[in-house]
């Protein structure tokens, strides 16, 4: 669960770091530096969520199952982000922020 939210926000950041989507969302072009930062942040969050998923949790799920679930979440959230930038481009940053918060709470709550 936390993997899905975290991946969603990560993919969103990467998407917002691509000039086409950046323009769709905010209506103007971002500077190269802004775009790069967004993409970097996205990759970092992705790595962070993988690390969370692979850590043998207290719940007893083996790391192999955790990583498999993470890969599924990775694809699912990428689909969700695609849908978001296609149909709700203006809301995408808010959704990404909410997902980041949601992901962290879910992780803290042990899901």
């Amino acid at each position: 669960m936390s993997a899905f939210f975290l991946c969603f926000s990560a993919w969103s950041a990467i998407a917002l770091g691509l000039d086409r989507h950046h323009e769709d969302v905010w209506g103007h072009e971002g500077t190269a530096r802004q775009l790069l930062h967004l993409r970097r942040a996205g990759w970092l969050v992705l790595l962070f969520s993988l690390w969370l998923a692979a850590r043998p949790a207290g719940g007893g799920t083996p790391a192999s199952l955790g990583v498999a679930a993470w890969v599924v979440a990775l694809s699912l959230s990428a689909l969700a982000v695609t849908a978001a930038v296609t149909w709700l481009p203006r809301r995408a940053p808010a959704l990404a922020g909410a997902a980041l918060v949601g992901g962290l709470t879910a992780w803290a709550g042990g899901w």
Partner: protein, 592 residues
């Protein structure tokens, strides 16, 4: 795939250096390979992918198609000894049995047994509380989708199974090639990562749908095709075994399989039909079950089996439930049948075997809970959609390419000759029409045939001879008729209603399924919903959703719509159904 995004004169334009040109050359070659590897076996791949996707819910289909199993009480801790006692009352001289314990996906105890008679295994389903046998209708159930997806099974008792596996293997290899070349062909892999522009219509939207459904779920596709190939590695690449397991008596492939399962070869007994085996002695099952649970610290037991080993001693093998770990072939414990004493654990842990087990396990997804299973199911649908959009793209691209030169001068003439509803462009080459016909039969006909298969399960009289095969006959004849219809509506008498009619028929069948269910069985929504039996209700509800989706597609593809669409958009792809589909916004996320 991405030919259209190449600058028109890329090859002819003067290139500054040699390297980019070479790269373009490589990309073009890969693009060619991608197109043709995809087209040649695409139809077969679509069928394999779709039935494979349905197989994620094999147990649920098995249940739905055997409504007699409905309403069983939950099993308690003593289910195994109870079932064994019931079996022995029925078959006193049983020599071997395999017992599958009930779990959340299958409430009945399933027993395979054979006695001193002809040596064939018989199947018995029983009530987990009373041990009462449940007679179910004769059907292949979800196993048909499962069997079809890896060996193109066409009858209950398999025929041409090995040949089918070879064909599927070749198709899978093609899919793997198409995936890899697709990555190479995709020029702006990350730039286009989230790009889907349904509003642009036509080829652009189709290409986006193909790319998005292809790229985002790529890990799943690579995993599923590669593991699919690996599962039958012994069939496709036999020379490894032939080299390593050579003995005086020729090639001993049984030793290889025993090694793969972590078994000692001497424990593995091959029993011929005529061999005489003594009936099993009384088994200390209660003790064995307890011991196994303790050893696995509460892990679930999947199956139990009892047999005589090579020395004639009765042994009981306990296999852990498959939901407990990713790797296929769960660990097994071996017990002495009479004393209940633990003998050994078979759990191969060498890296190669583990890798193989993990790949196998990922492919089968037996580890997956409901959420994960639905996600994988959705990925499978997306994969089917990726193949489908690829196939349609082939025709859309050709029709677009053919039109661009003639369109400008033809625009005036088009307006003058107000085209009657039944005229299509007469100049579509035969090959393209044939491809469209087969597209229709595969993409529209297969879902229809699956629906008819499920309907026949409810409609065929229970006393029909070879009932399971009769259900399959319904499936294949529907599919055949869809092909005839496709040929009729594209090659023989071209008209625009082809896609729409097929989809509408599919929608009608799928939405009728819950109704048929309600008329013929007590497992319908009126009962299962209030009782909260989500496994049963979920099937009916999913059928309704499938029907609704197909109905929606039929509506989008209806013949009159393309003309309105034509008026609205600036770019006009000529093949009407494809244009209409392209305009459907969430075709990539919903799936059919």
């Amino acid at each position: 795939m991405n030919l259209n995004t190449l600058p028109a004169g890329a090859a002819a334009a003067p290139q500054p250096a040699k390297t980019p040109k070479d790269r373009e050359g490589f990309r073009q070659a890969m693009s060619w390979l991608h197109t043709w590897a995809g087209l040649v076996l695409g139809w077969l791949l679509f069928a394999i992918f779709l039935t494979g996707t349905l197989s994620f819910f094999k147990s649920e289909f098995n249940l739905w198609m055997r409504p007699e199993v409905h309403g069983l009480p939950a099993a308690d801790a003593h289910v195994a000894p109870k079932a064994l006692a019931a079996l022995q009352r029925r078959v006193p001289d049983v020599t071997q049995w395999i017992m599958r314990l009930p779990d959340e996906r299958d409430p009945a105890v399933t027993l395979l047994w054979r006695d001193t008679g002809n040596g064939r295994f018989e199947t018995l389903r029983m009530n987990p509380q009373t041990g009462e046998a449940i007679t179910t209708r004769d059907t292949m159930g979800g196993d048909f989708f499962y069997r079809f997806h890896f060996e193109l099974r066409t009858a209950q008792k398999g025929r041409w199974a090995i040949q089918g596996r070879w064909v599927v293997g070749a198709a899978t290899l093609m899919m793997f090639i198409a995936l890899l070349t697709g990555i190479v062909t995709h020029r702006r892999f990350f730039k286009d990562f989230f790009t889907f522009r349904p509003a642009k219509g036509g080829q652009r939207a189709w290409l986006d749908a193909h790319n998005v459904s292809g790229v985002l779920v790529l890990p799943f596709y690579l995993m599923i095709t590669f593991s699919g190939l690996m599962i039958f590695h012994t069939l496709y690449m036999p020379s490894g075994i032939a080299t390593a397991y050579r003995s005086d008596k020729g090639i001993d492939s049984n030793a290889y399989f025993a090694d793969l399962q972590g078994e000692k070869p001497e424990r593995r007994v091959r029993r011929g039909a005529s061999d005489k085996v003594d009936p099993l002695p009384p088994i200390a099952l209660e003790r064995i079950v307890d011991a196994a649970s303790t050893r696995w610290s509460g892990g679930r037991i999947g199956t139990l089996q009892a047999r005589r080993d090579a020395e004639g001693r009765a042994v009981v093998e306990v296999t852990r439930h498959e939901g407990d770990r990713l790797q296929y072939r769960p660990p097994r414990l071996l017990f002495d049948g009479v004393t209940g004493q633990w003998l050994e654990q078979a759990d191969p842990t060498s890296p190669a075997v583990t890798t193989y087990g993990v790949l196998y396990g990922l492919h089968m997804a037996r580890f997956a809970g409901p959420g994960m299973r639905w996600a994988l199911f959705g990925f499978g649908l997306l994969g089917s959609l990726m193949i489908a959009t690829g196939m349609v793209l082939w025709t859309v691209k050709r029709s677009a390419r053919r039109q661009t030169p003639s369109q400008r001068k033809g625009a005036a003439r088009d307006a003058a000759t107000t085209s009657a509803p039944h005229t299509t462009t007469p100049r579509i080459p035969f090959g393209e029409r044939l491809v469209t016909a087969i597209n229709m039969a595969t993409l529209g006909g297969l879902p229809l045939a699956c629906g008819v298969f499920l309907a026949s399960n409810r409609l065929l009289p229970l006393t029909t001879d070879h009932r399971a095969d009769a259900e399959l006959a319904c499936f294949f004849s529907t599919w055949g008729m869809a092909l005839l219809w496709g040929l009729w509506s594209t090659v023989v008498r071209p008209h625009r209603a082809g896609w729409s009619v097929l989809m509408a028929a599919g929608a009608a069948v799928w939405t009728t399924l819950p109704l048929l269910n309600a008329i013929t069985t007590p497992t319908h929504l009126g009962i299962t919903l209030p009782a909260g039996e989500w496994m049963w209700a979920g099937m009916d509800l999913s059928f309704l959703v499938t029907g609704a989706l197909m109905g929606w597609l039929a509506w989008r593809l209806r013949p009159g719509r393309s003309r309105q669409h034509k008026a609205a958009s600036t770019r006009t792809p000529r093949t009407a159904p494809e244009a209409a589909l392209a305009a459907t916004p969430d075709v990539s996320t919903s799936g059919a």
